[in-house]
């Protein structure tokens, strides 16, 4: 009975987090097929370990840690990273002339920003995506990258500086953020 309940609870975990974890993996691999595979692998691993997870754990941060490790292993595999760059460059060319103007602008902004992010060094890129795209806490990012909270913050800040410099002249100054 306890087992059945644990499995139902895991269904809820998949429902709550799969789409976001896949989106995260899509951002770090830039390939939908890799995001499909790695997101499945993340949840299969999570399913095996779920029983041993202490009650009250931060499941979302835990899933990001698994996904991050899988993503890093993925890039460690020879040549993959280079291929991902090439694919990202391919996939990010504007290719939809029938979109409304506002949408095109948003798309271009997104594409430019993502191109810059793709070029960041490994840990900075992962930390940046976790913080700025998924709003994880620095402590959670540190846990995912096996580093301290302070190092996680430093990775994000270094990435921010690089992104800021790369987008010089493309930032929509005047459209003040709500922050």
């Amino acid at each position: 009975m306890a087992k059945v309940m644990a499995e139902d609870a895991f269904e809820a975990v998949v429902g709550a987090h799969h789409a976001e974890i896949r989106r995260y993996l899509l951002r770090i691999t830039a390939r939908a097929s890799d995001a499909d595979d790695l997101s499945q692998e993340t949840f299969l691993r999570a399913f095996r370990a779920y029983r041993a997870l202490p009650p009250g754990s931060n499941v979302r941060a835990w899933l990001f840690t698994i996904a991050t490790n899988l993503g890093r292993n993925h890039f460690r595999a020879q040549g993959r990273r280079r291929r991902a760059y090439a694919a990202a460059a391919q996939e990010m060319r504007p290719d939809a002339p029938d979109r409304a103007d506002g949408q095109v602008l948003a798309e271009e902004t997104r594409e430019r920003l993502e191109r810059v992010i793709t070029g960041l060094p490994g840990k900075q890129r992962l930390a940046f995506i976790m913080r700025k795209m998924h709003e994880l806490e620095y402590s959670e990012i540190g846990a995912s990258l096996s580093c301290s909270e302070e190092s996680a913050r430093a990775h994000v800040f270094q990435a921010l500086r690089k992104v800021r410099r790369s987008l010089d002249g493309h930032l929509p100054i005047g459209m003040e953020s709500r922050a």
């Binding site: 087992k3 799969h18 789409a19 989106r23 299969l44 902004t109 795209m133 922050a179």
Partner: protein, 322 residues
């Protein structure tokens, strides 16, 4: 870009925090003071805020390839498969020693004798798989059934079985033929080989039974040598085979080298595939190879298997001495 003064470099982390809206009051105050007197950093703050705004837009914007439907469906099917393979197991004492019973969603997957002490043998760990979990509560009912069986209070273990741990299709055929042997009956390895249409594969049959992952449930203890010797069981524990057969009413006598032997002259006998059973002295039964015969310890056993008494030797009128 001109080189920054050291005060600008020092304020930069705070400035990034302020732009991101994550700065505490102290840092916010420091930034406020600094940018009031530094035009460059004031502009930097504007840029970083614009960048944060841009990222917020991107964060919320839909992506063209952000469709998780396919991955989610594949995940559901892989999880279902993983679940159906996962084994929950219990380890129990029994009249025959320590026994492990494992079950999956499909049914009972493993019944293994364990050494009296120590960790699980390698072949058992392999059969359990890396995802197995101890589940005493989920296997307790099976344990109770098994103990009743070993004490002779139950003649069937009609459990759903998970046969996915077979080593080969050949092993599956051997074990299915063995599972069809009735309670209280014995035949020989050659007899099983004949039943699966591979009469020369006597040794492969013995090997397949040696790695039976469902001891007792698939009654490999009912398969003996052509000579009537029990031959082997659970490694070197042929005494377990003798005890299981005794529970089912099959009498044995001590034989050479720690073995036991079924006394054919004390067994009701049928030619495999025929509808009647006989006393062993009927016709030339005693001179026939065990590979063509099935032996029963009791008349009840033979009749429970659907056999009628032979019309010439009339085992019903002239039973063997008890």
């Amino acid at each position: 870009m001109s080189p920054q003064p050291s005060s600008c470099r020092a304020i930069e982390p705070d400035l990034l925090s302020v732009a991101a809206g994550e700065a505490g009051p102290a840092a916010a105050g420091r930034v406020e003071v600094h940018v009031a007197g530094c035009r460059e950093c004031r502009e930097e703050l504007v840029h970083y805020r614009a960048l944060e705004g841009m990222m917020a837009t991107v964060r919320r914007a839909p992506r063209p390839d952000d469709d998780a439907t396919l991955a989610r469906a594949q995940l559901a099917s892989r999880l279902a498969d993983l679940r159906s393979r996962m084994v929950g197991f219990g380890i129990f004492p029994s009249p025959l020693g320590r026994i492990l019973i494992g079950r999956s969603e499909q049914g009972v997957a493993l019944v293994e004798y364990l050494p009296a002490t120590g960790s699980l043998p390698a072949h058992v760990r392999r059969l359990l798989g890396e995802d197995a979990v101890e589940d005493r509560a989920g296997t307790e009912g099976l344990r109770a059934d098994l103990v009743e069986y070993l004490e002779g209070r139950r003649v069937r273990l009609d459990w759903p079985l998970d046969l996915r741990r077979m080593r080969s299709d050949f092993q599956r055929r051997v074990l299915e033929a063995t599972a069809a042997l009735p309670y209280g009956a014995v035949t020989s390895y050659a007899g099983i080989a004949a039943r699966i249409g591979a009469p020369s594969a006597v040794r492969p049959v013995a090997q397949a039974l040696r790695w039976n992952p469902l001891a007792i449930v698939i009654p490999c203890h009912r398969v003996i040598g052509n000579s009537g010797a029990l031959t082997g069981y659970a490694g070197r524990r042929v005494e377990l085979k003798q005890r299981l057969l005794a529970v089912e009413g099959v009498k044995t006598v001590a034989a050479a080298r720690h073995d036991f032997k079924v006394n054919r002259e004390a067994m009701y006998t049928t030619v495999t595939g025929e509808q009647e059973y006989c006393v062993p002295t009927c016709g030339d039964l005693l001179s026939q190879s065990l590979s063509t015969l099935t032996l029963f310890g009791t008349r009840e056993g033979a009749e429970a298997a659907g056999l009628a008494p032979c019309g010439s030797c009339r085992p019903d009128l002239h039973p063997l001495p008890a």
